[in-house]
Amino acid sequence: MIELWIEGVGIFAPGLIGWEQAAAVLAGQQPYAPAAPPKLVPALLPADVRRRTTDHIRLAVEVAGEAVRHAQADAAALWSVFATSESDGAISHNICEEVAKAVPEVSPTRFHNSVTNAPAGYWCMAVQSQAPSTSLSGFDASFGTGLIEAGVQVGAERCSVLLVAHDAPFPEPLHSVRPMSALFGAALVLTPARSARSLARLLVNIEPTLHALSRMADADLDGLRTGNPAARVLPLLAALARREPTDLFLPYVHSQALRVNVQPA
């Protein structure tokens, strides 16, 4: 079993812009009203850097920055885990389109932004962090695999970890074979011990038997949850927003589940 404490949250998705607004929606105090999200302009990226990035990168940096501000954490000292099912779909599409041509011309900036750890690289540059950073994937269970990696880092290294889950829809024709309904990014600051800033304690176990996964009560929010791998975190964020002790089941690899006990601090 892994024990973790949450000190900060960041979120950016249609109808869920920032933790303060999202918490009110997820706690049922405001209706969920999905709308096209505003342009992503993460304050941590200077304009000249921002121009060289993609929406996928800006999404990850935006939610990471919010979670760290919320936790009042020392950003440079945090280890980080970036979980994504598909990395940067727009770049994959562009480069595959280019190399299908007789004379391919791949953009060097696009190529170096194509690595799965590009968001992590921009994050570390933005906050001048030399701490270890891991980018990983577990397909639809990417958030679950990220939570396990972040959890064992917290437990084994006794460090605080920034966990970011982020995915955005592919353009066509890849959208048809791997559809996502909307972009979704969320971030958590996870620590090994309780502090005055702790929001909740998490106990995480890999569930040995098949178990029904937790869903969102609101049909539109549940559509968002199933429409993007990163949004599988939503039941956890809803439990944080409601500030109620909760046992959750989140998707893990090969149809297993993570049992996550959420205890408000």
């Binding site: 190529f111 750890n117 690289g121 570390c124 030399q130 396990i148």
Partner: protein, 397 residues
């Protein structure tokens, strides 16, 4: 940290199939690099291609996973009795207690490249035969390997560019230390594709001749493809093992630039220092450093500075990429296996293809193979985005 033994390990790369082929080529100073004839790539460069992948298919029961990356994975799992050894471990621990942690940079994106050349001229749709989740997706090869080996423990794909399959060792140690599993299949697989060939060419990082790490006249990297796997266990739980153990790991971030390392190697030095601290070893206890050594101007220069900073100027070091090429997401595991072979066989390889060491270098770069006792090896892997990982392997009785 408490060491983990490599119960068994194996590799396939441009040098051949399995440990004996890799060791034989290293000993004979025979490179696996050839002029690039991959698909219809119009680049004047050399690559480390694995022979015979076009003719292979993955096993029937996992046919939906068939692609170059998974063919390479399966081919490698069948070398050196690796899959058979995992079957024994599965009986001992149970399938839920063995994790699979692999690294890749581009997974099976070659399938998508093929599909993009066969799009419907009217609708732009991809051909009906195209399978996404089992080929292109980053997790596909981890899913394939854990199904092939019939394992049900924790599983993940790490993708941090060229440090991917070095970082798997750190993640594996943490999973075992935290009790989430008893043993871990670590490894990596990356196969040739046009994304990386044209991508590295766009950055002027691809050499026109076989790569010459640390050479004064080095002209860039030779891209390779490779796979490798190792089974990690606690020494007291392994009935028999390879005689090599993971003694330490160090991870760091450059926080400097997306595709250029810090010129003084600050992040690289930090990763090596952290690995030494993790292993509780002094720098002079390391007998050989297997460099990242891509043969790009900036990498080799900064790595020389970083090694000199941490180790001084007397620790023997070299890059083996003149043999295998740069296998990107599989470079970490490829060079972990080479490090283990060096310990088992008392070998310190030179830099193949390298004629004259860059006169600005101060570290002890080897030009030719040396034999003698090799107790401990540090292996470096550095990636785009400033992702660094150093591993320390040592002889374990």
């Amino acid at each position: 940290m408490t060491p983990l033994v490599l119960t068994r390990f194996t590799a396939v790369n441009a040098l051949g199939r399995g440990n004996a082929a890799v060791l034989e080529a290293l000993t004979a100073a025979r490179s696996g690099l050839r002029p690039c004839t991959f698909e219809k790539v119009r680049l004047e460069t050399w690559v480390g291609e694995v022979a015979g992948l076009d003719e292979l298919r993955v096993c029937e029961r996992l046919a939906e996973f068939d692609c170059r990356n998974n063919r390479l994975a399966e081919l490698t799992l069948e070398q050196d009795g690796f899959a058979a050894g995992i079957a024994l471990a599965r009986k001992k621990y149970g399938p839920r207690r063995i994790a699979v942690i692999l690294g890749t940079s581009t997974s099976g994106i070659l399938e998508t490249e093929h599909a993009y050349r066969q799009r419907d001229p009217q609708t732009g749709a991809l051909p009906a035969s195209y399978r996404f989740a089992t080929t292109h997706n980053l997790y596909a090869s981890t899913d394939f390997v854990r199904r092939y080996l019939e394992l049900e423990g924790p599983a993940v794909m790490i993708s941090t560019a060229c440090s991917s399959s070095a970082k798997v060792f750190a993640s594996a140690w943490r999973l075992i230390e935290q009790g989430l599993c008893d043993a871990v299949v670590v490894g990596g697989v990356d196969s040739l594709c046009q994304n990386t060939l044209y991508g590295f060419a766009s950055l002027d990082l691809v050499g026109r001749e076989p790569c010459r790490p640390c050479d004064a006249q080095r002209g860039g990297i030779s891209i390779g493809e490779a796979a490798g796997f190792a089974l990690l266990e606690r020494p007291e739980q392994a009935a028999s093992h390879s005689g090599v153990a993971l003694l330490g790991y160090g991870e760091s971030s450059d926080a400097y630039h997306m595709s250029t390392p810090h010129p003084e190697g600050a992040g690289a030095a930090l990763a090596m220092q952290r690995a030494l601290v993790c292993a509780a070893l002094a720098p002079q206890t390391i007998d050989y450093i297997n460099m990242h050594g891509t043969a790009s101007q900036v990498n080799d220069s900064m790595e020389d500075k970083a090694i000199s900073t941490v180790f001084g100027t007397h620790t023997a070091c070299s890059s083996t990429k003149g043999w295998t090429g740069h296998a990107l997401g599989a470079a970490g595991i490829t060079e972990a296996v080479i490090s283990a072979l060096c310990i088992q066989n008392g070998l310190r390889p030179g830099c193949l293809n390298t004629h004259a060491i860059d006169p600005s270098f101060t570290s002890q770069v080897l030009l030719t193979n040396q034999s003698g006792v090799v107790q401990r090896v540090l292996s470096n892997s550095f990636g785009f985005g400033g992702s660094n990982c150093s591993l320390i392997f040592g002889a374990h009785p």
